[in-house]
Amino acid sequence: MKITGKRLRPLVGAIALVGAATVVLSGCTTSGATDNETSKTGGNVTIAQVNEVSSFNYNTPQGNLDTNGMVNYLTQPQFFTLDDQYKIVHNSDLGSYKKLSDNPLKVEYTLNDDDKWSDGTAMTADDLLLGWAQASGYYDSATLNDAGEVTKGTQYFSTAAGAPFSTNLPTVSNDNHTITYTYDEPYVDWELVNPIQFPAHIVAKKAGVSTEDLTKAILDTPKGDTAKPASPNKTILAAAKLINTGYDATSLPSDKDLLVSGGPLQVSAWTPKQSMTFVPNKEYKGDHTVKFSKLVMRFIGDANAQVTALQNGEVDAIQPQPSADTVKALKAANSTVIDGSQVAYDHLDLNFGSSVFKDENVRKAFLLTIPREDILKSIVTPINSSAKVLDSQVFLPGQEGYEESVSKNGSSDYDKVDIAQAKKLLNGATPTVKILYNTLNPNRVDSFQAIQASAAKAGIKVTDGGSPKWSELLAGGDYDASIFGWVNPGAGNAALPQLFETNNSGNYNKYNDKTVSDLAVKTQTTLDADQLLTEKEQIDAGTFADAYGLPLFQTPGLFATNSNLKGVKFFGGQTGIVWNIWDWTK
């Protein structure tokens, strides 16, 4: 029997193919049987965030976004936290800090003996020194031109907050656990200085030196002098480079050193554009350890998508952009809605540089026509039903001093629209007021229209100065009043001189009151809490007496959870929903 070559060829081919396939197949299989031990959802908490994480360092100009701030809050050591009244609470998990003396202001930070980073390395004063070097801007000797280019000297760490205070070189204790700051002058927000962010041993490793060398460089390098800049210190420069940009990322860094955590949680996975996963930091001890086994942060930009995901059980808690429609959808879905007021607020400022408002009576008359209650009802009440009109330029409801200040700051004069009184003050005049606002923000448009209609009743003609480019026009002063938003930091007083100091670049409405201006500057060096409170109350009352303008309302905020997750509480500050994550149970 003879098989012809022609017939054989396909057969041989087939056999060869089968052989090859078997080889490939055996290489392409998983070893074990089906691994269906997939994570059960119990004990895993999933939350939704609008924006994706872009950096593991929140404190740089480019990384200064809320979501990054949350990651830092969860994974970096904090000497203090804020409670829901924006009050500073010292966090004893990590260590303690206290004021040693008022003049000069000396603050001592002490780490607990058993503090460890998530890789097992002990936390020491080396870490505290690095944190100080970052925050203080001590070594900077750079002169910048308008375009932000360094023309002379060296800029080391670039931080989002700048260098709000200045100190001498701190002293370190012998056991390398304590560091003492000596401020050049009293600093009002000394309690808000967190002297630790990144692990020094990791930063040193990436900078190519030992931790001792880094500490030595920090201790030995002289203070920067812009007039006579010294040549840059290579070690600090390398450390600064890592901290400035090395933590920016688009996916999970392959270098696991960058993920070393000093907070209650630790980043374990990141699926770009989708989610980031955190697991508890095993080395973290204290009151702020979390009570679940995993936190998943999913990035869902669309508010309605967040609501359906919550409804479908894909996430346990959401923090969408608040809107009346979202609240309605959440109510329809039987979710638990947790609403409140954020630290951001809208306000109407009168331009003291405009001729219309030279006369205090005209200012007062105009403010008397502002229908604050109506504006609140149309914009905020649908989202936050318990919202109230904001009655202070300095305090927020909930903060210590708000009630007290409101009772005597004179805001009660403007509780109700009083057209008759306004007409009396105007005395027959019919001024024209041009209001600047953002035409792309529907809330501001609504506010403007409500004010326009109400002012017309008193004979004040309000003209539309709104523009999508309002931000560029703000400093120009070509308007009589402006409606826009500020963010109150919750805790901290740095904003006071910015708003009320005469000729400050943030004082857009050219407010000029010597007493208030001096008080605003004075607050920055006031260390006594009671005195500070008095000064702030005086500023508050002063602005109302001058008819500075009116605060309108706080931006509403919104969280929602499904019934599985317990312990979520409202917080208006920038850490958002995760502010009390250690209280969550599921």
């Binding site: 081919g13 872009s54 700048g162 699926t271 931000s471």
Partner: protein, 510 residues
């Protein structure tokens, strides 16, 4: 031909450079890139503004800034004098890292819906053209115009509410009430009788049979708790494979072609044997295993066709390959269905997802993660599909009608060719020529992403990259997006031109 290609490539590069210039200048001037900082009240505002100016060269005129950007791009093409760079966004994330991720998401999202839209659109278009001006034709026309005009966000929300939430809620107690059963039967029956067409008697019969079958099958599935613990099993696999063989033979060769039956039969038998023998291998499979098996399946199909072949070897190879691949798909489907129960348990009893493209931290084997991808991409795919397939239906219908009016079709019918041959062999191919152009130009738009669908389903791809860049006046991500879209569009238009020359002898490239 070579000079034609070279000329086209050269012109394309010039077009790309010119377009990138226009795009860059327009985007850079579209708004104020410092707005978010200027309106903030950070105590360190001025330094933040300066940092961004420094990072993005905002102090340089946009025209010159385009030059800087182009320099970075040029180094991607010619790797001398520095590294490839498409710039960074405001968050200091390099565009070269953002683009691949965005393209991945977008491709994952749109590819399947694009292919399905083409296949289903053309198929429905042909059927409506064959039954032109019938009730079925009018229904499909009405339906496709309805879908065409439906805004995609509305479609997405409807799908989420009724399909995802509805089905997941249904799964909590998977029993279909009698009223729903009857309604489903009537709807299916009505659709089938429209497709079948013909006399009243014939339609009525089709209505009763298909409606009745629907009710009986659904009732049986509901009674056996099939929805909670679905399975196909050997019987269904054999039945489906036979159905596939029948359909392939009927469409491609006609029912009285003995060799076609043999080819299809061999492949069905092989598929059934594979079903019984390969389960052990499936349990330890990875994507690589499945791809290898897919290649093997295709080879087996082609070889069986080649061996049976005879006078019509090409046709038999096509039949063999098609039957093999489709019946293998049934075998795979059966294995996926077998893992469904485990998957549902793993995600807490609510399988259909409304956001994202995967369950974070799910883990699991090939089958579990496959199902996970399916449950996440099902809704966005349907949403994109329903909107885009309407267009293809219309093109295919009118194209087919036009071809069927041609003289050569009349000639083919006159010489006594069966209607199947006339449609499949003579009309169908010529109808495909204009569709090919349409597909080529759609690929560019496809990569552009689906801004709204991406946002509603939280799968951020190219559309999201573009829109977030544009709203912040962050030029670099927008330009990265532009580069990808422009290159794809130019390349595919070029390919379409070449394809024309290849498909149609009347067109000559010079």
């Amino acid at each position: 031909m070579v000079s034609f290609i070279l000329r086209r490539i050269l012109v394309s590069i010039l077009v790309l450079v010119a377009a990138s210039f226009i795009m860059y200048v327009l985007v850079a001037n579209s708004d104020n890139p410092l707005r978010d900082l200027q309106t903030g009240n950070s105590p360190n505002k001025q330094a933040l503004i300066e940092a961004r100016i420094q990072q993005q060269h905002l102090d340089v005129n946009p025209v010159l800034r385009w030059g800087i950007w182009l320099g970075g791009v040029a180094r991607c093409v010619v790797p001398i004098g520095g590294s490839c760079s498409l710039g960074v966004n405001f968050q200091n994330q390099p565009i070269t890292a953002l683009l691949p991720a965005a393209m991945g998401s977008t491709l994952q999202l749109v590819t399947l819906s694009f292919l399905l839209a083409i296949v289903l659109g053309i198929a429905l278009g042909i059927i409506t053209a064959l039954r032109v001006y019938s009730g079925f034709d009018y229904t499909i026309t009405l339906f496709s115009f309805f879908l065409f005009s439906l805004p995609s966000f509305l479609m997405a929300v409807l799908l989420k509410t009724f399909v995802a939430l509805g089905y997941n809620n249904f799964l909590q107690d998977p029993k279909i009430p009698l009223s729903t059963l009857l309604i489903a039967g009537v709807v299916i029956g009505a659709i089938i009788q429209l497709v079948v067409g013909g006399t009243i008697r014939r339609r009525l019969l089709a209505f009763v049979i298909s409606g009745g079958a629907t009710v009986v099958v659904l009732a049986a599935l509901s009674a056996t708790d099939w929805f909670a613990r679905p399975a196909l099993g050997p019987f269904a696999v054999i039945l489906f494979s036979l159905g596939i063989a029948f359909a392939v033979v009927a469409l491609l060769a006609g029912l009285n072609n003995r060799r076609a039956w043999i080819t299809a039969g061999i492949n069905v038998v092989l598929a059934v044997i594979a079903y019984f023998t390969l389960q052990g291998l499936f349990n330890i499979s990875t994507l690589g295993t499945i791809l290898t098996l897919a290649v093997a399946t295709l080879a087996v199909g082609l070889i069986s066709g080649f061996l049976v072949g005879g006078y019509d070897r090409g046709l038999m190879m096509r039949i063999g390959a098609l039957t093999a691949v489709l019946s293998a798909a049934v075998v795979l489907l059966d294995r996926f269905v077998a893992s469904w129960g485990n998957y549902v348990d793993a995600v807490g009893g609510r399988p259909l997802a409304t956001v994202g493209s995967q369950t974070p931290g799910l883990g699991g084997d090939f089958w579990i993660s496959g199902i996970d991808t399916y449950t996440h991409l099902l809704l966005p795919t349907i949403s994109l599909l329903l909107i885009s397939f309407a267009g293809y239906t219309r093109y295919a219908r009118s194209g087919m009608l036009e071809v069927l009016d041609q003289d050569y079709v009349r000639t083919a019918r006159a010489k006594g060719l069966p209607e199947r041959t006339v449609i499949v062999r003579h009309a169908f191919r010529n109808m495909l020529i204009p569709i090919a152009t349409l597909v080529a130009t759609d690929v560019g738009a496809l990569l552009g992403g689906a801004v709204i669908t991406e946002s509603v389903f939280a799968i951020s791809g190219m559309g999201n990259l573009f829109i977030t860049g544009l709203t912040a006046t962050d030029v670099n991500p927008v330009m990265g997006y532009f580069l990808v879209i422009a290159i794809t569009a130019i390349a595919f238009n070029f390919l379409a031109d070449l394809a024309y020359a290849a498909l149609d002898p009347r067109v000559r490239a010079r």
